[in-house]
Point group: C2
Chain length 146, copies 2
DNA sequence: ATAACTAATTGTAAAATGCAACCAGTTTTT
DNA sequence: AAAAACTGGTTGCATTTTACAATTAGTTAT
């Protein structure tokens, strides 16, 4: 029996509904935390991402980084200056998750007991509107895309 | 030993960051599917919600509905005309999750293999802008809020 | 050479999810 | 009035995911 080609377009999605397809990529407790830290805390290394307030476990972080890379949300490359260091970057597909994060932040500001200090970015982004959002995307693109 | 009051403001949140606080409510594979069906498929009963393409299990649906009620996203009431029927409604807090769902839909339309039929709502909402979004919220408020 | 740091991996326990069958009431059908 | 079908669930069990702590091989700094 020969190994069989996996048909890419027939991946087992629960459905092809847009909401479900997004949830299958970042609909869990950790993926958006990682993306948030890369976007707003400028974290690019494993150890930095491990340090969040939410205390992600290292095996879960490893798993999510691999998944996000498979899904084309991030890329990884080893820093040639420091062979042991791996630098993680957002792709355009990853940067474009920003509006989702902003919408979630706005909702929490309205309904959840947000720590004002932690909510600074969300506050600014809720007020800054479309222009600020685009400016942030530009900044991220400059730092993360080659 | 007397039962002790649970201090509401000290609930064990992983953090008080807005992104995390939103994820703690609907950052799982099912909650937004349920909310989507209530918003766009006009589902209001247990059996209807059980029928989604994604095939949620009945015990998980029971669990999520109870959680969403605890979190103030939905309410439940028994239809006095049909004693066995329970009708689920969105609260304003629940209706205000719409922008998150729209942002996720737009992202999927751009990057994921969305079935055009399933993506109709997302397509319209991406094009319709703020006005359409507000109109939909008004419609939901009329049907779900008393 | 030693110590400290890197991105992980491993082992084990706990929690969440999936699946199928079942259930007690409530209507509907016959 | 009985039987059938429908309601929102519950139960038991297998699988999967997550949490937590300790450990690791390779790399860099002292």
């Amino acid at each position: 029996m020969q190994p069989v080609f996996k048909i890419k377009t027939m991946e087992n999605h629960k459905s092809l509904c847009p909401i479900n397809l997004a949830l299958e990529v970042f609909g869990d407790k950790w993926s958006l935390i990682i993306i948030r830290d890369m976007m707003f805390e400028k974290k690019r290394h494993f150890r930095e991402l491990l340090q969040s307030d939410e205390k992600i476990a290292s095996n879960i972080l490893t798993d999510r980084l691999a998944m996000l890379e498979r899904e084309g949300i991030i890329t990884k490359e080893s820093d040639p200056e420091h062979k042991q260091k791996i630098i993680y970057s957002l792709t355009l597909k990853g940067i474009d998750i920003l509006p989702v994060i902003i919408a979630m932040g706005s909702w929490s500001l309205k309904y959840q007991p947000v720590d004002p200090e932690k909510g600074k970015h969300a506050q600014q982004l809720a007020e800054g509107g479309f222009e600020l959002q685009e400016a942030i995307k530009m900044g991220l693109a400059e730092k993360h895309l080659k």
